[in-house]
C-alpha cells in the first residue's frame, strides 16, 4: 500500500469516526453490511473502469451498458425462460463484444476513447430503452432463482456476496495489474504508447484487452445491480455510474492521463464514495445535498492529497538519485 492509498484510508476512517460519533448506528453490523454490498456493486464497475484509465483511456458507456445488460439479463431470465447460467454467459459474451468493438474502434480506426465510449453511452441506452419499449424489466412477484439469488444478493454471516465477488475480482486484478507482464504493459501503454510500440509491445492488443476487461466487469456488475434492484427502468438504470467509477478511480490516485494508479486505491475510492452516500441518509442530510456532499468531499480529498504532496516535496529533501 503506497502513501496515497494510506492517505485515502485515513480519510475514510476519519469520516467514519465523525459519522459514528454523530449517529452511533453507523457502526451497526447491518449498516456496514449494506454499505459493503453497495461497495461490491460499484466496486466491480470501478475496477473495470480503472483498467481502462490506466491505459490513458476512458469508458463513458459503463452506465448505459449496466442498463442494457441488466435489461437483457432480467428479460431473458424472467420472461424468456433462459436458464440463468446461460444468460450469465451470454451477458459476459455481450460485454466482451462491446469491449472488443470499443477497443477496435480506438486502436484500428484511431478514434478518441472519449468519443467512442460517449457514442456507446448514447447507443446502448437507446437500445435498452427500445428493447423494453421504455418499460421496466423486472422479475414477477414471487419469481425466484435461489442459486442466482444466493450468488448475487445473498449474504454469509452478514457479508454480502456482492462484496465477496468484488474482493475476488480485486485480488485477481491486483495480480494482473501489479504483478503480471500484461499489467506492466498496461502501465507502459498508458504512459507512452509510441515508446511502448517501439519496445515491441503490441499496444493495440493491450488496449483492446483493457476495454474488454472493463466491459466484462461491467457486465458482471450489471447483473449484480439488476439482482439488487430486481427491476430495471432502462431510461435511468445506471445513469451517471460511469462518473462514479471515474471519481472513485481518481480519488484512488489514478491519473486520467494514464499510467498511474493502483487497485487498492480504486477500491478505497469506492468505499469513500459509498460511505458518503450512507452518511447523507444516516445523518438525515436533505437528499438534495447528496451530490454536493459527494463533490465537496472528493474535491477536498484530492486537494489535500495534492497539497500534501507539494508540502512533502518542498520540505523533505529528495532521496539521492
Amino acid at each position: 500500500m503506497n502513501k496515497k492509498d494510506l492517505g485515502l484510508l485515513i480519510l475514510i476512517v476519519v469520516v467514519g469516526i465523525v459519522v459514528a460519533t454523530l449517529n452511533p448506528r453507523f457502526l451497526l453490523p447491518i449498516n456496514i453490511s449494506n454499505t459493503a454490498n453497495l461497495v461490491g456493486l460499484f466496486g466491480l464497475s470501478a475496477i473495470g473502469q480503472s483498467i481502462v484509465i490506466i491505459t490513458g483511456g476512458i469508458e463513458l458507456s459503463v452506465g448505459s451498458a449496466i442498463a442494457l445488460v441488466g435489461v437483457l439479463f432480467v428479460d431473458f431470465v424472467a420472461n424468456e425462460g433462459v436458464p440463468w447460467p446461460v444468460a450469465l454467459v451470454l451477458m459476459i459474451a455481450l460485454g466482451t463484444l462491446l469491449g472488443l468493438i470499443h477497443g477496435l474502434l480506438i486502436t484500428k480506426l484511431k478514434l478518441q476513447p472519449f468519443i467512442v465510449t460517449l457514442c456507446g453511452l448514447l447507443i446502448y441506452r437507446g437500445i435498452a430503452r427500445f428493447y423494453t419499449q421504455d418499460g421496466t424489466a423486472g422479475f414477477g412477484f414471487g419469481q425466484n432463482f435461489p442459486a442466482l439469488n444466493w450468488l448475487t444478493v445473498g449474504r454469509s454471516h452478514g457479508v454480502p456476496h456482492s462484496f465477496v465477488a468484488m474482493l475476488i475480482v480485486a485480488i485477481i486484478m491486483w495480480v494482473v495489474l501489479h504483478r503480471s507482464v500484461f499489467g506492466r504493459y498496461l502501465f507502459a501503454v498508458g504512459k507512452n504508447e509510441e515508446a511502448a510500440r517501439y519496445s515491441g509491445i503490441r499496444t493495440g492488443l493491450v488496449i483492446i484487452w483493457a476495454y474488454v476487461i472493463c466491459q466484462i466487469l461491467t457486465a458482471i456488475a450489471a447483473i449484480y445491480f439488476a439482482m439488487y434492484t430486481s427491476s430495471i427502468t432502462p431510461a435511468s438504470q445506471g445513469n451517471f455510474y460511469e462518473l462514479y467509477a471515474i471519481a472513485a478511480a481518481v480519488l484512488g490516485g489514478f491519473s486520467l492521463r494514464g499510467g498511474e494508479g493502483s487497485i487498492v486505491g480504486v477500491v478505497l475510492g469506492v468505499v469513500l464514495l459509498q460511505e458518503l452516500q450512507n452518511l447523507v441518509n444516516l445523518l438525515g442530510i436533505p437528499s438534495s445535498l447528496n451530490f454536493a456532499v459527494m463533490g465537496g468531499v472528493i474535491l477536498i480529498g484530492i486537494t489535500v492529497d495534492q497539497q500534501w504532496g507539494n508540502v512533502r516535496a518542498k520540505f523533505l529533501p529528495r532521496k539521492a538519485a
Binding site: 447491518i30 430503452r129 421496466t136 427491476s231 430495471i232 427502468t233 431510461a235 441518509n281 438534495s288
Partner: protein, 291 residues
C-alpha cells in the same frame, strides 16, 4: 397527411404508461378515422418535452394530450401550443393555461387515500418515512401534501421523504439506510410506483417484512403481490388506461366539433382507488383483462 393524428405525450419513459398505451390502443380500435399515438420525451425534462411537442406541432399533429413534466411553469409553452393544436392535459393539470380540459386523477386525493390506508393499518399511530423519485416534482409534492392532510390530527406523522432521482439502486439503499438510521420508524411510504417494490425488497432482505407498515402508490406487480401477501397494507392506484382511453375519445369528439363531452369546469377527474387485501385479486384480474 392522411388521417388526423392525436398524440398522448407522456412525461417520461415508465411502465406506468403501459396501461395508457393499452387505453390508446382501445381508443384506436374505436376511432379508425384517427391516428393515435403515445410518445415519450427522451428525457423527463421540460426542455425535452417542449422540443418534442414543438416538433409534433410542426409535423401537423391535430391534438395533444400531455402529462406535463412541470405543468405549473409551462404556461407560455402550453399557451403557444394551444394556439396551434387541440391541447389537453392529463396526469397533472395546468389549470391556468389555455388547455381545453384535464383528464386524470387528483394527486392530493390520492395522498389522502394513502393516509386512509395508513390510519387503518396503524390505529395506534406511528412514524412514517417516505420515498420518492423526484422530491420537487408536482405529483410528488401533491401526494405528500395529501398524505399529510389525511394524517392531520392522528398519531401518525410523516417525518421525512428521501429522494433518489429515479435511481432504483439508490431507492433501495435509501430504505436500508432508513431502517438503520431510525429504529423508531414504523411505516414506510413509496410515493412513486417503483419505490414500493424497492421498500418491499429492502424489508425482505432486512428480515423486517411484516413488522413495518408499508403504504404504496400505483400497481407494480410486486406491490400488488405484497398487498396480496399481506406485507403491504395497501396501495393507491390511478387509472392511466382510462385517462388515455377517455382522453382520446374526448379529443376526437372535440376535433369533430362535439364540445359536449368537455366538462364545464374543464376537469374530468378519474378517481384513484385503494387496493388492499380485500380487493387486490379483483383488481389484478381487471388489469389482466385490459391487456
Amino acid at each position: 397527411q392522411s388521417k388526423p393524428t392525436i398524440v398522448f405525450v407522456a412525461n417520461g419513459a415508465s411502465d406506468f404508461w403501459k396501461a395508457a398505451q393499452a387505453g390508446v390502443k382501445k381508443a384506436q380500435s374505436e376511432l379508425p378515422d384517427y391516428k393515435l399515438e403515445l410518445q415519450y420525451p427522451d428525457q423527463a425534462t421540460v426542455a425535452s418535452q417542449n422540443a418534442l411537442m414543438d416538433n409534433l406541432v410542426s409535423a401537423g399533429v391535430k391534438g395533444i394530450i400531455v402529462s406535463a413534466v412541470d405543468p405549473k411553469n409551462s404556461t407560455g409553452e402550453f399557451d403557444k401550443l394551444a394556439g396551434q393544436t387541440a391541447l389537453f392535459t392529463t396526469d397533472s393539470d395546468a389549470p391556468q393555461t389555455k388547455r381545453i380540459a384535464y383528464i386524470g386523477s387528483s394527486n392530493i386525493l390520492a395522498g389522502e387515500q394513502a393516509a386512509e390506508i395508513a390510519k387503518k393499518a396503524m390505529p395506534k399511530g406511528g412514524k412514517c418515512m417516505g420515498f420518492v423519485g423526484l422530491l420537487g416534482a408536482d405529483n410528488a409534492r401533491e401526494r405528500i401534501q395529501g398524505f399529510k392532510q389525511g394524517l392531520a390530527g392522528t398519531g401518525i406523522t410523516l417525518v421525512d421523504v428521501r429522494g433518489d432521482d429515479i435511481d432504483q439502486a439508490r431507492a433501495k439503499s435509501n430504505v436500508s439506510d432508513t431502517l438503520v438510521a431510525d429504529p423508531n420508524v414504523t411505516c414506510l411510504v413509496g410515493f412513486y410506483s417503483y419505490n414500493t417494490p424497492q421498500i418491499y425488497a429492502a424489508l425482505k432482505e432486512g428480515g423486517e417484512l411484516g413488522k413495518i407498515t408499508v403504504v404504496g402508490f400505483d400497481g407494480d406487480p410486486v406491490t400488488l403481490g405484497g398487498v396480496k401477501e399481506g406485507s403491504i397494507a395497501g396501495t393507491v392506484v390511478q387509472q392511466p388506461y382510462e385517462w388515455a382511453y377517455q382522453g382520446m375519445k374526448m379529443i376526437a369528439a372535440y376535433l369533430k366539433g362535439d364540445k359536449s363531452s368537455i366538462p364545464a369546469n374543464g376537469l374530468d377527474i378519474i378517481q384513484t382507488k385503494i387496493v388492499d387485501s380485500s380487493n387486490v385479486d379483483a383488481y389484478v384480474a381487471e388489469q389482466k383483462a385490459m391487456q
